[in-house]
């Protein structure tokens, strides 16, 4: 079918706008720097400026690996059509909005991956999907990577923070005698924390950028800007979201976990940093939010603090249901877009 240039132009505008919209949303929900803000050592504007710089640099420098996993490895080229792509993006945005309204921890990565799986399964059973017979719609390698990351990243974050807390507690904090020494040590931990959080923000931007432009980079029918430029645009989108809306998220999370001393936050963030770096380097898209939350739970367990069972229930539910729900919603959206004669 010939592509109508008007429809193509509209499609390009819609796709790029939605991709940038997701980037802004990701930036707005980015709580990476909340622990630093919570220490009160830096002013919120300074924290945000650091976040903005990290979002742009991280997206450009570390973004290509995970973007290729989401865009290329996950889907067969025959189903990278307008209807499928729009279904994935719409489902992701729908899930982000719904979970935000229900105060569930938002995982953009899981929403994207769930949507891809949903439309992939649909493509097998739907005769007009365009998938050649006998061809797998979803790259098994990419899916396995994502599923491994989905299951293992919270576990790595949890036990990493648990172990890190025990180490910091046993070898540093236990040797301190009075409040003065503890405060001196905590002041040093603030700077260590800042260094770690900057690194995490860089790798997390690299990991998260896949969620906004990854689907575009795998799109077959529309002209794409060069990948570095796409990464830069998405990075700027995340930076805008972080600076304008992310302020509230950072302030809220920062003040809610203010009891998290810099040394505790250090254990948590070091574990998050290690997890994010490993998973980003091996091209596994994971949820930074989930890793952070499970790391906080791991640190609390090490402190023998009773966790908030209601909050944990919410976190676990959102962790489990994101992928299946996003998959179902994507299927629904596909049937909406399927009837439009996109031509690609």
């Amino acid at each position: 079918m010939a592509v109508d240039p008007v429809i193509l132009t509209i499609l390009i505008i819609i796709l790029y706008s939605l991709a940038i919209g997701i980037a802004v949303g990701i930036g707005a929900n980015d709580e990476t720097l909340a622990t630093v803000a919570g220490t009160g050592k830096l002013k919120i504007n300074h924290v945000l400026i650091i976040g903005v710089i990290c979002a742009i640099i991280g997206a450009v420098v570390f973004g290509s690996g995970t973007s290729e996993t989401i865009g290329g490895d996950l889907m067969h080229e025959s189903i990278r059509t307008a209807a499928f792509m729009l279904a994935i993006i719409s489902s992701t945005i729908f899930w982000l909005l719904l979970s935000s309204m229900k105060s569930l921890p938002v995982s953009t990565t899981h929403a994207v991956v769930g949507s891809v799986i949903g439309v992939g399964i649909l493509a097998v059973f739907f005769p007009w999907s365009g998938l050649p017979p006998g061809v797998s719609p979803i790259g098994a390698e990419g899916i396995i990577k994502v599923l491994i990351g989905w299951v293992t990243s919270p576990i790595v974050g949890y036990f990493g923070a648990f172990g890190m807390h025990l180490l910091v507690s046993r070898y540093v904090m236990k040797n301190l005698k009075g409040l003065e020494q503890i405060e001196k040590a905590e002041k040093i931990f603030v700077w260590l924390l800042l260094g770690i959080v900057i690194f995490t923000a860089l790798t997390r931007a690299g990991n998260d950028v896949a969620n906004s432009i990854g689907i575009l980079s795998g799109f077959q029918g529309i002209p794409l800007l060069p990948l570095p430029l796409l990464l830069l645009i998405s990075g700027c989108g995340m930076a805008i979201g972080l600076f304008i809306i992310g302020r509230r998220v950072i302030t809220n999370v920062g003040s809610n976990i203010v009891s998290l001393k810099p040394s505790d936050a250090f254990s948590v963030e070091l574990s998050v940093m290690i997890s994010m770096t490993i998973f980003t380097l091996i091209g596994m898209p994971i949820s930074g939010t989930q890793v952070l939350i499970f790391a906080i739970m791991g640190s609390s367990k090490a402190k023998r603090e009773k966790p908030n069972s209601k909050a944990i229930k919410k976190i676990v539910i959102s962790w489990i249901i994101t992928i299946p729900v996003a998959a179902l919603v994507a299927v629904g959206f596909y049937f909406l877009y399927f009837w439009i004669p996109w031509g690609i």
Binding site: G38, T39, G40, K41, S169, M173, K174, L176, K177, G178, L179, E180, I182, E183, E186, K187, V258, S259, K261, P262, D264, K303
Partner: protein
């Protein structure tokens, strides 16, 4: 700009000075009448010291507000300073009651001796408390040991209070003076109670920060 410890020390020094001054005023009251110059002047000094303490507390709040302390311990430090101020407020109240007593009030010899002992006990309690507060910065174990000492000294003050009340209420002649003396003693012992409350708070700080280590 003075350091956090310097400001806290200044507030504690004022507390100790006010306690000593109040003890002198109480002892003088046992020796003479409440309207005597020695009682009135010393009691007035306590009131002035309380005001001075308020200024130091304000300085400490300003210091904390301007980010001069580690974020996670700020509220505990503020509570610490507020509790010191509460002791000073109690001492001011005793001083004001003392100044308002009628000239004709007479104290039995045995009762006056016990009131003097009570003064010594309260002075000791506050001096130990001062060390206790300063020790949380240096050594949790020692701070805990000193907070026990504060509790012991406060118990001694409490025992003296019961003895004084017992003596007062068993006097041959019960009159309004007896009740006025009883009121002063009860208020005075509340200084030690407030000191114990601060010692309990120090225990909380010690437990909180040593278990979080």
């Amino acid at each position: 700009m003075p350091t956090e410890t310097e400001i806290l020390k200044e507030q504690l020094d004022i507390l100790v000075e006010a306690t000593n001054t109040l003890a002198t005023a109480i002892n003088n009251w046992c020796e003479s009448d409440p309207k005597s110059k020695s009682v009135q002047e010393e009691a007035q000094k306590v009131i002035t010291l309380e005001k001075k303490g308020d200024r130091v507390e304000e300085k400490f709040i300003e210091y904390l507000y301007k980010g001069g302390a580690v974020h996670f311990s700020k509220t505990d430090k503020l509570t610490l300073s507020a509790k010191i101020d509460k002791i000073l407020n109690m001492e001011e109240l005793v001083a004001r009651y003392l100044m308002a007593q009628p000239k004709s009030i007479l104290i039995e010899k045995t009762v006056s001796e016990d009131i003097k002992k009570l003064s010594n006990s309260i002075v000791k309690t506050i001096e130990t408390l001062r060390e206790c507060v300063l020790l949380i910065n240096k050594d949790f174990d020692e701070a805990k040991r000193y907070s026990r000492k504060v509790e012991d000294e406060r118990r001694e003050a409490r025992n003296l209070e019961w003895k004084i009340l017992n003596d007062l209420l068993n006097l041959k002649e019960l009159n309004v003076h007896t009740l006025l003396i009883k009121q002063i003693v009860e208020l005075y012992v509340m200084v030690a109670d407030k000191a114990e409350s601060l010692a309990d708070f120090i225990d909380t700080i010690v437990i909180k920060y040593s278990t979080l280590r």
